[in-house]
């Protein structure tokens, strides 16, 4: 975490009279496992899920917030709002949804909702997010333009960010490739689906966003 980020956090806490509740946005490209992670965190600490998961891209088409998620680590507790956001992209083609056995009307409706969701996610990032968990599929190439732009946007706003290399259960997964793509940030490996390495995930969330 940068010096200025830490200073900003300390000043915020000082003037708010103690611990603050921070909105942590879960960002990343479509199908990286953002909702699976949001559900894992939410279920582990509140018992409730945030939203439905799917292998079809853009299942999440509205930013969804789970408030008051209290994470207890090392005798301390950290309370955050988890904001699960739609996967960010620069293009949405309804024809891609039809490849998932969707009728044209449904595919068009889904694409319209997806575009609104991405715009909403960008707006949240500029206005309402205090920290970011950036989720990537460890089996995918991280050197994409969307990832480069999103990380650049987050850095430009001086928002603390953790990179989560998800889907480490997949045979083709490479955490090293992700760590090498964004060496300026800490990368945490995990499988949100199987719940592996969640202890480290919660330690890092408490450390970065507490």
């Amino acid at each position: 975490m940068g010096l200025l980020t830490g200073l900003k956090k300390s000043l915020t806490q000082l003037f708010s009279g103690g611990a603050t509740q921070r909105r942590i946005g879960i960002y990343g490209p479509p199908n990286a496992g953002k909702t699976t992670l949001a559900n894992r965190i939410s279920r582990d600490w509140t018992g409730d899920a945030v939203g439905p998961e799917s292998h079809i891209p853009h299942e999440t088409r509205r930013a969804r917030r789970k408030e008051n998620v209290e994470i207890k680590r090392n005798g301390k507790s950290v309370t955050i709002d988890v904001v699960d956001t739609p996967g960010v992209t620069t293009k949405v083609d309804y024809a891609e949804f039809m490849e998932h056995d969707m009728e044209k009307d449904d595919a068009v409706r889904r694409s319209r909702e997806a575009t609104e969701g991405v715009a909403e996610a960008m707006h949240w990032l500029r206005e309402d997010i205090d920290g970011v968990i950036y989720v990537l599929d460890s089996a995918d190439d991280p050197f994409t333009q969307v990832n480069t732009m999103l990380i650049g946007i987050i850095e430009s706003r001086d928002i603390p960010v953790l990179i989560f290399a998800n889907k480490t259960d997949l045979e083709e997964a490479s955490v090293t490739r992700i760590a090498n793509a964004f060496p300026q940030h800490e990368t945490v490996p995990l499988s949100a689906l199987h719940g592996s390495n969640m202890d480290e995930v919660y330690d890092k969330i408490a450390e970065y966003f507490g």
């Binding site: 949405v92 333009q145 946007i153």
Partner: protein, 142 residues
């Protein structure tokens, strides 16, 4: 760009090319200098890019956009996607160098935006290869 029709006079040819390149069997590429972009406000830059791309052109920026402008470009692009007309943009820039300088780096005048940027309609441009020194893209006709 494809050769203009032989029976067109100069003025007609210019007008035809100014629209979308669709008058001719080719692809129009707009290379926008950093100087020209510097004179525009953020939303004017976004508008200039999207107007060009929606006309089917490839837009090349000598200097890229700032992160905030990139954020607005994504947001406005999403609001303009139309399932029957416009599926969005393909955008490529060289990777930014380690930007660990954050706010301090910006205060010290570091220019993170000086990156050549290629933007085109998502249904016409496909990135074939990209690394720190090379962007290779395939541009198809409509």
């Amino acid at each position: 760009m494809a050769k203009a029709n032989s029976d067109s006079d100069t003025e007609t040819e210019t007008d035809a090319n100014a629209g979308n390149g669709g008058e001719h069997d080719g692809v129009r590429i707009d290379l926008i200098s950093g100087e020209r972009l510097d004179d525009l406000a953020s939303m004017e830059k976004v508008r200039t890019i999207l107007d060009g791309v929606r006309d089917g052109n490839i837009v090349v920026l000598e200097q890229g956009l700032s992160p905030d402008e990139e954020s607005r470009l994504i947001e406005v692009t999403m609001s303009e996607i139309d399932p029957n007309e416009f599926t969005g943009i393909e955008i490529e820039t060289y990777p930014r160098p380690d930007s660990g300088g954050g706010l301090f780096g910006r205060l010290m005048g570091r220019n993170d935006t000086a990156k050549l940027t290629v933007i085109g309609p998502a249904d016409r441009i496909q990135t074939l290869h990209k690394d720190e020194t090379l962007i290779s893209a395939l541009i198809t006709r409509r």
